[in-house]
Symmetry: C3
Subunit: 305 residues, 3 copies
């Protein structure tokens, strides 16, 4: 059953992934062959970005227009709504009268649930605080599928901030549905994966391991890295200590590795010299963001190519 | 005669209203049936927003694109022009070389007159300081017409800041043209309707009354509320005193009431429990903003469906 | 050979100018006759503006959409990239996966070179710090060509800040390629044209003169003015001293003058009373910005009308 609203990575069952990937492949073909389509030429997409964003915003702009849709766009920073004193629900109710689907990036955990409930049109959570970022998980899993042909039967390594990275949390939840997968978390001792995540993965029979040194990397098929979340370090000196210690260089990559991903922005976690390797997939991953978001918009609006 | 520039609600004669409403109904049918049209596919609309705006900006974005037009957009905050030292006239002259119609939200009373004079293309005032906001009056009157079938022979109640609300001022001026209407202003004693407004309404034979309590509401057909303009209270404690005292709840609504409107944002002036009533029209009113602005763009660019 | 990237005014050879002007004339005809075309309907243009801009941004928005292209747009102020810690190269690499051509306004001299190297799609420098602004030179030379029929055999006067105006620097470099031209620089003594510019012009056989008073203007065909760059004056009182002293009034214009240009914004350098003269070409010059940028987009994307 196609989705009508996407709030959480928990909605991304294997069946839903399969449907979206099929659509994304068609969207990629359109982009490569004819550039744009008129599939959504009668639609308006509302982009409500109340927190800073660059990649997510730009890829949704690109996706909507490559599908022929128009865009209404409002930006705000650090506010939970458009105007002082107005509730998020009121604001979203109004915007849903101006467009056919809302994509929202919101500042607080749980905002996406509130906004979706207020919207009279389909809704996509483009990140709500530290909580969820389900379209990133779609981009990540699609990239693995296209590069390696499968999401099952793979060993994944995650670094370097599994405690705080919402991209890692959501991706682990989605991948834990697949057969015969292993997760190896690499991080400073202070930033180990949270207990709830470990437990949930183990309850689904994922092989889980942890270590504090890049040199202890198991033999991963996929290395998925995310910058240390500098802004959340209580102690600045700790960040300075770790920023260059946890940095992937070509020499440190185990020979088993077939793909290296990063949701970006890259700060210090991957050396520039890694970029030249064919297994460095992070810029292709970013580009997949457009195809996946085109797929998602078409699905939520009930259109098929 | 169709308008070429809309600066003031004083231009909204009964004849002009009739023309715009006719167009707006066709635009609503387009939105509901086919989503978008190519009526203005050869046009570019310039959106110049030098003061914060959300609803007005978003509804013009939606209106322009639903008509097939492109958008050039510049935003600024708290500035009377784009760049330090440049005059508003110079800035508008340049923008009018980039597009076929300018919509401008400007910070100071009277700016719309200056900008319109500088523009070599049709011009719409989307709010100039505390002065005028004529497209809001169009949205308001269209909503009343569509919900109640008439603008004449009705009793209107206005609250709760008739002293300072430019939406109330402009709407009263427009409505005072119609036969057999009554205006009842409800407000704290400090925020009563200004003398010039009362006089102008009475000179046009409007029945005018005022009171300081919701409980003294006459038997209105329409209740039109607008938040207390917090930012304009010299004394913060006064605002805190009144914010919950002037708050419409379902129990306070006279049985004569057939429609409740609010230009939004809603702060405290309407209890959430009112939203469920069929006569709560404010979200439908917001949605009408798109149809009205489509109508206006088509009229000023001389196009008819 | 058509350009694929435009970084510097030094790329604007006479042959390139000729090609772009031809295209710009066709674009002007499209704008005047049919408003928009679908020449780039399958393309997405990325607008990356990390420094404030109004005219350049708006004219690129207009140009892209008049050609039928979609736009992805990201704005930032005072930052060298989108997110803290990310390199400009990474950011541009990602954006070039979202669109078919990048237009970038960047804060530091030399940024355009870095960004172009990182981009996997055609690239246009829309201003990098105090360094280059080649599309402005295209607008300037096109305007002279269309108004006077030639760029050669003309005497040009430049004021009033030839030391710091990048528009003047780039334009002089482009014009110095033409036969039999003379440059007369008028400025306060502190703001005279830099030595490297004078030398380069003289090495190409340009007749060069300088003076410190408007009254000493030679007999120019074209007067090209640019505001005093207030923000770069170390001494505020110096700016205040000169701002009204260097101000062109109708009485000061030599009878030889056939065209007055200004890249705008105009501050004090041209009296308002000059606007009424037929030789005041600066608002027509601004409008040419759309045609030139349409021409450039079409050339860099390899499309011909």
């Amino acid at each position: 059953m196609p989705l009508e609203r996407l709030i959480s990575a928990r909605q991304l069952t294997i069946e839903v992934l399969h449907d979206i990937f099929q659509r994304a492949r068609k969207m990629r073909a359109i982009c490569q062959n004819s550039g744009r389509t008129s599939l959504l030429a009668d639609k308006m997409i509302g982009l409500v970005f109340l927190e800073p964003s660059s990649r997510t915003l730009l890829s949704f702009q690109s996706a909507a227009q490559r599908l022929g849709a128009g865009i209404v766009f409002i930006q705000g920073v650090g506010s939970t709504s458009f105007e002082k004193g107005e509730s998020l629900s009121d604001a979203i109710k109004v915007v849903s009268g101006y467009c056919d689907l809302i994509v929202a990036r919101l500042p607080k955990s749980g905002d996406a649930q509130i906004a979706s409930a207020a919207s009279s049109v389909p809704f996509i959570n483009a990140g709500d605080g530290g909580n969820e970022h389900p379209t990133q998980s779609l981009v990540d899993t699609f990239t693995i599928m296209e590069e390696l042909g499968s999401l099952a039967n793979l060993d994944y390594a995650f670094g370097f901030d599994p405690l705080q990275s919402r991209s890692i949390h959501s991706l682990c939840l989605v991948l834990s549905q697949f057969e015969n997968v292993g997760f190896d978390f690499i991080s400073p001792p202070e930033l180990q994966a949270p207990g709830w995540l470990i437990e949930q993965c183990q309850s689904r029979n994922v092989r889980v391991s942890q270590s504090n040194a890049l040199s202890e990397l198991k033999n991963p098929d996929v290395i998925y890295l995310n910058r240390l979340q500098e802004e959340r370090f209580p102690d600045r000196s700790l960040f300075e200590k770790y920023r260059y210690e946890y940095r992937l260089t070509p020499e440190q990559i185990p020979s088993s590795t077939r793909l290296i991903l990063d949701p970006l922005p890259r700060v210090d976690e991957i050396a520039l010299s890694v970029d030249e390797l064919p297994i460095a997939g992070y810029f292709r991953q970013a580009q997949n963001g457009v195809y996946i978001r085109m797929a998602l918009l078409s699905m939520l609006l009930g259109r098929t190519l």
